[in-house]
Every structure is written in C-alpha cells, then in structure tokens.
C-alpha cells in the first residue's frame, strides 16, 4: 500500500511538471504577452520597458530557468492586475471554491446514493423510471442555464436568495444546487447501474436465497462492491467542478472563487495570475487523483496500478 501510494505521488509530480512546461510554452510562444497586455495606444518604448520589467526580453531558456526556479519556491511573481503576490490572491479565492465544490459534491452524493440504490432494487418500477428520467434531465441541463433559471425563480421572483456574491450561507445555496444537481444526476445513474450489476451476481442471489438480512446484503456487500465505480465518478465530478464548472457557475453568480478569478485574470490579460491559477488547479487535480487511487486500493486491495 505504501509503495502503491508513493508511485502514485511520483506519477502526480511528473504530471504537474508537464503542466508547468505546457503553461510556459503556451504563454511565451503563442502570441506576444506584452502586446496583448498593453493598451493599443502604448508606444514602442512603453512596450519595450514593459517587456524588460517582466523579463520577456531575455532568451527563452533563461526565462524557462527562472520560471522553474520560481515555481519550485511556489512564487509566481506579482499579479500584473493587482500589483501583489499572485499566490496570495489565489489563496484568497481558493477556499471559497473548495467550500463550494465540496459542499456540492457532498450534496450530490447524499442525493444520488439513496436514489440510485432504491432505483436499482426494482428495475422498471415507477420509482426507477422517475429517478432515471430525473437523471436524464439532470444530465442534459447546462450549468449556466440552470444557474440563470434558479436566479430568475428564487432570487428575482421569490426573493429568497441573493443573485450574486458570497459571504453567507444564503449566498452559497443557489451555486451549490447548480453544481450539485447535474453531478447528482450522473451519480444516480452510476449507482443504479453498478448496484444492478452487483445485485445480479451469484453471491447476492445466494445470500437472498439464504434469507440473510436484506440491509446487510444490499448495504454492506453489494454496495461496497458497487462503490468503486461510484467513487471514481465522484472523484471525477470533483475534478470537473474544480477544473471547469467553477468558472461557469462562479461567473453566473459573481461568486468570487478561483473560477471567477480565472475569468478576471483572462479579462485583465494577467498571465502571471493565470499561471498561478492554472498550476494550483493542476496540483489539486493531481492530489485528488492520488487520493482516489489510494482510496480504491483501500476498498479493493486487488486493484493494481496501471
């Protein structure tokens, strides 16, 4: 188990290094960051001075060396937009996103697991068809549309929740629901199909034939075995939310998390801050992946590292 975890961590480090290289190449070699960042009216002298200030006038290998050196120290430099440490800004926004995403995934699991299990017990029943239909609807709804509809209904029409911002529980409700519903839909489908697979296996049929207690059979044995694919999907939902959906949902709700910050840094053409955001997200994704792998191994020791 220890070696397994270590190997996963090393894989993760390799992936993070790969991402840092991609980030560097994209920022330096595609387009001219200095030109994009300055106003159209800026003079040639101003452009040259700005390039020198950021170190963009040095050779690419020299830039890459100092970039790597800075990253190892977790120092991304000063945000061009806010004139303060890019990492400090990222750490200001990161907790808000983690809270939002974590609460959403917990809510999604809380909805999906009982719903999926109940649906799996009697495939084809009305309950099953209702939950499957709800799941399909949940899968088809785009986040931004769902968010906008929730705002229209619960903020503009009923006035129950604020349309945007953060800071109180009320502010979190609509974004969490917007995140959670589609994730819950996908998870419900997964729980249902995994459980149906397990329930049809011989050991469950045998246990049932022997009249072993129902909850023990379904809850302990079948669900435990069905939970590996469910855990995979839950982990992926977490990653999806961190990597992309937070951008959409946080923008719709003007919720000042990392996704919102990413869009701001793009609008401000703040490459330094964007680098810090992208690498932070990459690091978190790798960490989640490693944790997921270690968790499978704990649940099912037969799993081997691919």
């Amino acid at each position: 188990m220890g070696r397994f975890a270590l190997r996963r961590v090393i894989h993760g480090i390799v992936v993070v290094f790969g991402v840092t290289v991609v980030v560097f190449v994209v920022t330096r070699l595609i387009g001219d960051p200095v030109r994009v960042m300055l106003p159209l009216e800026a003079s040639l002298e101003q452009r040259a001075a700005f390039a020198a200030e950021l170190g963009f006038d040095r050779s690419i290998p020299a830039q890459f060396a100092s970039y790597l050196g800075d990253i190892v120290r977790f120092d991304f430099g000063e945000s061009l937009w806010q004139d303060r440490s890019a990492m400090a800004i990222v750490f200001e926004h990161l907790p808000r996103t983690l809270i939002l995403v974590s609460a959403s995934i917990v809510l999604a699991v809380v909805i999906a697991v009982p719903l999926g299990i109940v649906a799996s017990l009697r495939p084809g029943s009305i309950l099953d068809r209702v939950s499957t239909t709800l799941g399909l609807i949940g899968l088809s709804i785009p986040n931004f549309w769902l968010g906008a509809m929730l705002i229209l209904l619960f903020s503009v029409t009923f006035g129950w929740f604020p349309t945007s911002g953060s800071g109180t529980l009320k502010h979190a409700v609509l974004p969490v629901v917007t995140f959670a519903l589609p994730a819950a839909a996908r998870l419900t489908m997964m729980v249902r199909s995994s459980m149906i697979d397990e329930l049809n296996k011989q050991y469950v049929q045998m246990a049932r034939a022997k009249n072993l207690p129902f909850m023990r059979t379904v809850g302990l044995h079948a669900f435990k075995n069905a939970s590996v694919p469910v855990m995979t999907l839950t982990g992926w939902e977490y990653i999806r939310a961190l990597a992309g959906f937070s951008v959409v949902v946080e923008t719709v709700f003007a919720y000042p998390g990392l996704g919102f910050l990413a869009i701001q840094s793009i609008r401000r053409q703040d490459l330094i801050l964007l680098q810090a955001i992208v690498l932070t997200v990459a690091l978190m994704i790798v960490v989640v992946n490693v944790l997921m792998d270690v968790a499978y191994k704990a649940v099912d020791p037969r799993i081997k590292l691919a």
């Binding site: 790969g18 991402v19 991609v22 980030v23 994209v26 920022t27 595609i30 387009g31 001219d32 030109r35 994009v36 106003p39 159209l40 009216e41 101003q46 937009w81 806010q82 004139d83 800004i89 200001e92 926004h93 906008a148 705002i151 229209l152 903020s155 503009v156 006035g159 129950w160 929740f161 604020p162 349309t163 945007s164 911002g165 953060s166 800071g167 109180t168 009320k170 502010h171 990597a243 992309g244 923008t251 719709v252 709700f253 003007a254 000042p256 919102f260 910050l261 990413a262 701001q264 840094s265 793009i266 609008r267 053409q269 490459l271 964007l274 955001i277 992208v278 997200v281 990459a282 994704i285």
Partner: protein, 516 residues
C-alpha cells in the same frame, strides 16, 4: 489537463476588455429589498435608507488614483478624488478644485489658483503644495504611471504661494486644461504611505470605508465636503462581470445602478438611462495600397453601408451615426459642418465602376468579443459591401493575431477598430489615427499631418479648433475610414434612483438622488 491549460491560456490571448461589461462600474447597494436583507451580509455594507449599491463590471486594480488606468478604479476614485478641472455632464470644462480656469503665464507655463477651504479626508488642507506634489508624482518616471500618456507634455509643477501653482510643459500645450481634468489630486503625506493603494485619501464627496477583495467596496458621504455633503449617504460597489447577472441583481432590487446594460435588455430593467458615449467603432481603410487606395472605392464603401440601419437595428437605437469623423459633439475639435455619407448603393456602384473595381475582393480584418457587437458589425458591413458588387474576405481573429494585422507592415484594406477618447480633446484621437506614424494611421497625407501637429502647439483656441475641423473635413472627403456610429452608454437603474448619465461616462454619486 494539458488541453485545459492550453485552452485557459489561449483564452487569455483572446480575452480583452469586453466592452459589454466594462470598464464602467455599476454598483449594487443593499436596498431594503427582501433578497439580500439577511443579517451580517458581508457583501453589502451599505446601510439601508439612503445608501445605494452600484454593480460594476470589474474590480478596481488599485485605489491609487495616479497609478493604473482602468474602469473599475475610475468608477470608485471619481468619487473619492477630485481634479483641478472638472466637466459639466454635457462635457464642458469647468473649474473643479481650481477656483477658476487657468491662465497662461507664457507659452509653456500655466497658472492655477486653487480653491480655498478644501481639506482632504484625513483633515490635511488642500493647497498649491499638494497640487505640485500630485503633478510631480504622476510624471516621475520612477512612479511608472499607466496614465502617463495623458500627461507626457508636463515637465513639472511648483507652488508659488499657498493658493497659486504653476505647471510647466515641454512646449506650448493647449491640451493642458483637459489633461488636468484627468489628473486626480492626492494628499502628500498619505500618498507616501505603503498602504495608500488600499486606503485612498482624497478631497471628494465620498470617503473610503472598506474593500472586500473580489467582492465589494464601500464609500460613505464626506460630511465636510467643500461643496456640501452629498444626498446619498453611502455607496457600495459590487463587482459583477456578467451583464446578465447584473441585470438579475437590478431586477431583484439588490442594485440601484448597473453599467453596460445591453440594448436588448433595456425593456427588462426596472429603469434605464442612456447618453451618447465615447466609443466610436469604425473601419480603417488602407489608403496607400491595394483596392482601397483609390478614393472612389473608399467613398463607395462609405456610401454602400446603411449607417442608420446599423444604429437602429443592430444597436436598437442606442447609437448615433457618426458625422463623418471619429469624434463626438462634446469633444474639442468636432466639426459640426460634416454630414455622414448617405446610404446610396447606386452611387456606390457608379463609383466602383468608375474605379474599375467591380468584383474586387476586399479583405476585412476584425476580432470578436472585445468591443460591443464587433463581430455582428463586421458581418453586417461585409454584407453591404457584397450588395454593391464587391467580394469580401472576412477574417475574424483572436486578439493577438488581430494585433499582428493592426501593427503589421501592411495594413489590410479594411480593419475594424473602436476608439474612445477620454480626454475629449481631438489631440488624442488625431495622434492615434490622423498623424502620420500614429498607431492606427493608414494614410500618408502631409497636409492632415501638418494640421494635426500644428494643432498640438496652437494656443489660440479658435485657430486650433479650425485645424482639427480641416483635418476631419479632408479625412471625410477622402474617406480615410469607413465612418459608422457612436455608441450610447446605457445604464440600468432601480426605480428609486434618479440620475442623468454624463457624456464622459463618470459615475458621480454626488449627482444622484433617491426618489421619495
């Protein structure tokens, strides 16, 4: 993961200040509406009653009013800081912190008398010394102000006595009063403080209260304001980039004012107000080579496009047709005698035939998402040009590639651009688009160049105005650009807020009031 990273970084390259959300600012305040009335609401600190919330599209970069140049900063600082020269809502220059309009001592020296009895928010007196400090601070190369292009003719300032200050320039500079409309006056002691960018100290009608990074910023009325305490007691700025989310907040009663309401959303807002703004989308035509080098072709292009239809349909009436110049009536140097090329496709076809340009391909370069309806405008223009017999080759690039074309050695026959002139003085536009060597200039007309450079140092106001009028007259006759429209700025308002928007797009809360 790599794909995600690449996408994110590519997005940077394409991102710009999408004018649809702004530079402006709009702010929401905590109103007494039911939606945000929860206790301890960290996001909206305005007390109910006579506080307002303004939703703006972007957060200030810094609250040092001399350092950066962005819409979010201006929206807030325009209420905290003041300038020697102000403007009326219609755009006319008028004394601000100066007791009267400045006088010229000699060709390169302007003398200002400052208003007496004005104090900064920290109790320090405002005087000639603080003016001299402010001027010398912003022009100091070490300070590295982003606003320096507004002030690069100024060489220094010196206090003569407590109420008199002299500002010197590197040559005759008739634009100086307009420049001083842009330069905010800071308090010398606090400006030296390391935390100044987060603790602004000005003379304005509002004082800084708090700033919740990423989310909101609060100001309160300055009871000691020299022109009398303002009617609105406090203002909360909320940073909401999406125009749709700002509109939802406005509809839900959370905000009293939002910036950059889209033309198609005006009917959904509780209330709205609009005013002719500063933005002039147009196409620069290459007059030096290719098919557009023939003035008849350029005139035909101007005749072929129905500008009225663009203003009325594409912009739903929230735009006015440009009078054959990249200038608004409120800007110095505007030529009121010019009229837009009429929509006359038949005459356009005749000119094309005379020039032997039937069926010629016109390459049109544009980008998408940086300026309001830029792509739609480009496609509409292309359709009009096709209708009179040109073939068009529309190329819409991401912003960096677009800049390659704009700054490249050979400018395309037609390239879309939108220009705004915050100083409202023709010099800024002329040095960008009319003077040979200007970033967006696409002609080699020595006469226009001479008029523009002469105007830069002409201190006789009437003579100077005449020079710009000549320049615009010739640029219009020769059709150096495809002149299109001047956008209106549209603001969403709550039903209780009363305010008339200004031509300079400033959101001066002291000019607002609450109904009832």
């Amino acid at each position: 993961m790599a794909a995600l990273t690449t996408l994110a970084l590519l997005a940077v390259a394409c991102g710009g200040d999408d004018t649809t959300d702004d530079d402006g600012t709009a702010v929401p305040t905590e109103t007494d509406g039911a939606t945000t009335g929860d206790d301890g609401d960290a996001t909206t600190g305005a007390d109910s009653g006579n506080g307002i919330v303004i939703a703006i599209g972007s957060e200030p970069t810094s609250l040092d009013p001399q350092l950066r140049d962005d819409g979010g900063e201006r929206a807030v600082n325009d209420n905290v800081y003041e300038t020697l020269i102000a403007r009326t809502p219609e755009g006319e220059l008028t004394p601000g912190l100066a007791a009267e309009m400045p006088t010229q001592v000699d060709e390169t020296t302007w003398e200002f008398t400052v208003r007496e009895g004005v104090t900064f928010h920290n109790g320090e007196p405002f005087n000639a010394e603080s003016v001299a400090f402010s001027v010398n601070r912003i022009i100091d190369p070490e300070f590295n102000s982003e606003q320096i292009s507004f002030f690069n003719t100024i060489t220094g300032a010196e206090a003569v006595d407590d109420t008199t200050v002299r500002i010197t320039t590197d040559g005759p500079d008739p634009v100086l009063p307009s420049r001083m409309y842009w330069m905010k006056m800071v308090e010398p002691v606090s400006a030296e403080d390391a935390g100044f960018a987060e603790n602004p100290v000005g003379t304005g009608p509002y004082r800084f209260t708090s700033w919740n990074r990423g989310e909101s910023l609060q100001l309160e009325a300055n009871p000691d304001y020299w022109d009398g305490a303002p009617a609105i007691g406090s203002v909360t700025y909320r940073f909401v980039p999406e125009a749709g989310t700002r509109l939802s907040g406005l509809s839900a009663g959370e905000f009293d004012l939002m910036t950059n309401l889209l033309p198609e959303d005006t009917e959904r807002a509780p209330n709205f107000a609009s005013v002719q703004g500063l933005e002039h989308p147009h196409f620069i035509l290459n007059t030096m080579e290719g098919v557009t080098a023939d003035p008849r072709v350029r005139q035909a292009i101007n005749l072929a496009v129905d500008k009225e239809a663009i203003a009325n349909d594409l912009f739903q009436g929230f735009a006015v047709v440009d009078q054959c110049q990249i200038s608004s009536p409120s800007w110095f140097g505007f030529n009121p005698d010019l009229e837009a090329y009429p929509y006359d496709p038949e005459r356009a076809e005749e000119l094309i035939a005379e020039a032997g340009a039937e069926g010629e391909t016109i390459e049109i370069v544009s980008e998408s998402g940086r300026w309001l309806k830029d792509r739609e405008l480009t496609e509409t223009v292309a359709a009009y040009l096709e209708a009179v017999g040109f073939t068009t080759d529309v190329q819409i690039f991401e912003f960096d590639e677009y800049l390659n074309r704009l700054f490249g050695d050979v400018r395309p026959p037609a390239i879309f651009i939108s220009h705004s002139n915050e100083l409202q003085d023709a010099d800024r536009t002329a040095s960008f688009e009319l003077e040979i060597g200007g970033t967006a200039t696409s002609h080699d007309d020595d006469e226009i160049h001479q008029w523009v450079t002469d105007a830069r140092t002409e201190t006789d106001v009437d003579a100077r105005e005449e020079l710009y009028r000549n320049a615009w007259q010739k640029a219009c006759d020769e059709a150096f650009m495809l002149f299109l429209i001047n956008n209106e700025d549209i603001y969403g308002l709550s039903e209780r807020l009363e305010w008339e928007p200004r031509v300079d797009a400033k959101l001066l809360v002291k000019e607002m009031s609450l109904a009832g």
